[in-house]
Point group: C2
Chain length 539, copies 2
């Protein structure tokens, strides 16, 4: 068989040649920008030529600080297909982390969304390697900025030819994109995706969800978050219509209207988004969601009531999926098996709300740390999830020491604790570090949070383990209640009584808060909560 | 990213662990044998242990001369996953070709379907490398045979453990299966598939047809024919139910009943089969085919009337696909694009009856031999189809000289002549060697055959170019008419008058025959027809 490298090039050229009429949409507050894969390809060629004119060579890093829109999508293919590496930076990171990752990746060019320029201006002096600033402005004009040299993306690329001979002689193991995890401890850690890993992950996403040319994908997951979970790649490869909602991602009225108007079939996002959507719909929004076929939820556990409510009241059929920055991210997806037609609704939701079944092409172990063996397939025994496969990272970028902690003997130790049931469905119990061990027994903070969040007056709940003289550690609840409602610790304890696995699961203490602190990827910041508790700030 | 090899092992282990309850069926004249992926895995482990006991090592070749059934499917994974190479031999080959390929591949073990043992007994003395004969008998017992040493497959493997530690340290470029083309000139030529090529082809089949666990696949294509077009691999990888119809493949009543009873969703086959099916249905068979989702037709052109008739009268929705032994085989598939909803029925059939669009992951050129450039995307200009990609062969096994003719500068020259329309759909015009060049103008034998086969009294038609003193070459028609009907050359010429592109397309002479000679893969044997013509046997 031919020694033919797996490159993103073949995805891009296929879209350009066979699907030049298919559409890509960027949603702005005041307009919907539409163009075609034909236009997309021309501008991607212009971008590659423009990068070359700056002296960007194979392996050079180029960063984006950008929203989900067509310009960012041009970077997604233009940069790696000309041989450079796109570093998609998370603009929600604390500024010291942001300057850290741009320096650590040694980014030479920085592409910046117009309304994020102020962030970069503030850290300009810390940036050691960036030589050029390119502003992604909707007007196409260069805004006023202290950054220099700075160009307006549209003006800049328009000077260059609409053709580019994307190289075929890259190695499939060459880096293509990179992304930093929002580490809860220490500096962010970089993960480098190769052409090979992305191509294989894309195929796996395709066969998992049956994604086809006839789909229409809405990218709710930020494009700096594990490559928007790979959805842009399967779309370009398949010639699939895609919609990039930019700042409007959090505008639920707009999102609902787009799903209905454009007949969106596929989307994915974190539970925080689904929660906002649910709240919006509960206030009376009515939309036709019948086109939706696959909605993947990941990043953190999707509360069961939310999954049920969205599905049953609004025909919005969520399935969970599991993975992280280190896993490209698809590791497992909670699709029910075809013979599960006689399951009760509750059993079916239990399947759909699990982390799911292993994706085709990966290898997984769930290892009981005490026995060192794989857990039983009984849905009870807990262990750490280990993963192996062609789209699983084997190191953190330029971090040999920290890499050794997570990548051991060919396995990625995820730090997630889970179980596997007899059908092979994984259920996440907790992060190893978030598990609460009380009187020698494990308590899953995630399970407990889900139970509490099912209380009608509760909006958000986070459980942390706090020191206890008698039980070593006990669960502590951090609760956000619905505006205008009241709720006491006693009422919550009463509510939990017949719902938890054992009475020691019920927190003795709660803090009622206006909002829970979140990490830059919208997860509950439990490290922050533990620090607040230690400082006596949670009462 | 991890340096993790693409191996068939991960498909097999996934089916065993996550889909042990899903079914595999073998159809026999007098029974339907059913077992599960759980059973399948145990027997595949037994097979691997049994092969090891014979001293079979990595890279050794093991041949099958077998029908489509569960034992053959056990060989499909057991042999390559333990490191050896499965050579699926075509039992329809002339015996001198059969002994040639078994010797050429240096097969050490030969697995033989019970009712094909007589073929091997007849060529036993010519076989130079086979050391063991394993008979695949439905009874499980060893039949009487002159072959020695011979074992009954079921008895033999039953002695071995139901567990096997399939190696993880194979190289993804190691050979996994091999298959010989039925060369029309000279000895058959071998193509070796690697673990990598099969894994990638499988993903591509999956994303092309959206194949999922919920599908039910019927394997009509012989398993010795380019790995049954890869369908067994996507089924095992996806945990998809599969049905192997053995000798009953040609029993149309049985095939129709299975499709309806088992709710088959996916199948593929050559037009000869669809023709038999159509004839059978035309005699009054009524079946519920509503479960069918994808039916791929390939190997040779599917006549348009057949595609239309099956779809419109019987709800049997065929799409064409294109490829060959050297291409694993999927190269293109004729799925319409989602925006083609306003095409007229004729336009839509023209798309579905094309060879289709390039599969995701390949590179293709259609090259005009005279200009050396890619043909225009106008559906008119003809050129030879060249292919490149990770599941395209780069040589014929141990044939350096003949390889040079087909594999040139990194491209596989298919020998097929085609066009590409403005939407990117390929249409096959002919084999380079079957094109008729009359008075300096090209005539597509395939197009002409399709037009003739649309005549209600014609069953089969093959066009060959024959020498002509004035026009260098003219088309000659070999025709099989419906039993009991009569048809003259003049009537056919009259019929063709307003249907062909130009009057010189109309054959001056026809031979009316009882049947057309076919190759071992059921294509019209045009080389044989040309020889018959030269010998004066066609009148």
């Amino acid at each position: 068989m031919m020694d033919y490298p797996l490159l993103l090039r073949s995805f891009l050229l296929r879209a350009a040649k066979y699907f030049p009429k298919k559409e890509i949409l960027s949603i702005y507050p005041d307009e919907i920008f539409r163009y075609t894969y034909g236009d997309y390809f021309k501008r991607t060629c212009q971008l590659a030529n423009a990068l070359e004119s700056l002296g960007i060579k194979r392996g050079d890093r180029v960063a984006s600080l950008a929203l989900n829109n067509h310009r960012h999508l041009e970077l997604y293919f233009g940069v790696p297909c000309m041989g450079a590496v796109l570093h998609t930076a998370n603009f929600r990171l604390p500024t010291q982390h942001l300057s850290y990752i741009l320096n650590h990746a040694e980014d030479k060019v920085l592409f910046i969304e117009e309304d994020l320029v102020f962030i970069v201006e503030a850290i300009r002096d810390q940036l050691k390697t960036v030589e050029h600033f390119v502003i992604l402005s909707q007007s196409g004009k260069l805004p006023e900025t202290t950054l220099s040299p700075a160009y307006s993306y549209d003006e800049w690329i328009s000077e260059f030819p609409e053709e580019y001979d994307f190289p075929e002689d890259l190695n499939e193991n060459d880096p293509a994109l990179m992304c930093y995890t929002s580490a809860t401890t220490g500096d962010p850690k970089g993960v480098v995706y190769t052409h090979r890993s992305i191509v294989l992950h894309t195929y796996a996403v395709g066969v998992t969800f049956g994604t086809l040319e006839s789909d229409c994908a809405l990218h709710i997951v930020p494009m700096f978050h594990a490559n928007a979970w790979g959805l842009p790649f399967i779309c370009v490869g398949g010639g699939t219509k895609q919609i990039l909602p930019g700042r409007e991602t959090l505008n639920m009225e707009k999102i609902c209207r787009i799903i209905a108007d454009e007949k969106v079939t596929v989307t994915c996002g974190v539970p925080t988004i689904w929660l906002m959507l649910y709240d919006y719909l509960e206030k009376g929004g009515k939309y036709d969601f019948s086109s939706l076929r696959v909605i993947a939820s990941g990043g953190s556990a999707c509360p069961l009531y939310l999954m049920k409510g969205l599905n049953e009241k609004y025909n919005f059929p969520i399935r969970q999926a599991y993975g992280g920055t280190e896993t490209s991210p698809l590791a497992t997806a909670a699709l029910e098996k075809s013979y599960m037609t006689d399951l009760s609704p509750d059993e079916l939701y239990s399947v759909r709300n699990s982390a799911g079944l292993l994706a085709l092409g990966l290898d997984m172990r769930i290892v009981n740390a005490e026995t060192g063996k794989d857990v039983r397939m009984d849905g009870e025994e807990m262990g750490e999830i280990w993963l192996k496969g062609p789209w699983i990272a084997d190191e953190y970028y330029k971090e040999p020491e920290r890499s050794k902690l997570s990548f051991v003997d060919g396995w990625f130790h995820t730090g997630d604790v889970g179980t596997m049931d007899e059908e092979g469905y994984v259920r996440l119990v907790d992060r190893t570090k978030d598990l609460v061990k009380s009187g020698g027994e494990w308590i899953s903070s995630v399970d407990l949070e889900n139970i509490i969040m099912a209380h009608p007056k509760v909006v958000e709940a986070a459980i942390i383990g706090v020191p206890d003289p008698k039980w070593q550690e006990v669960p502590f609840g951090c609760i956000v209640i619905q505006p205008g409602e009241t709720l006491t610790a006693e009422e919550l304890q009463e509510f939990l009584k017949d719902k938890v696995k054992a009475s020691y699961w019920i927190p003795k203490e709660f803090a009622f808060m206006d909002a829970l602190p979140k990490t830059s990827v919208m997860k509950f910041d439990k490290k922050g909560l533990r620090e607040m508790y230690a400082e006596g700030k949670l009462t």
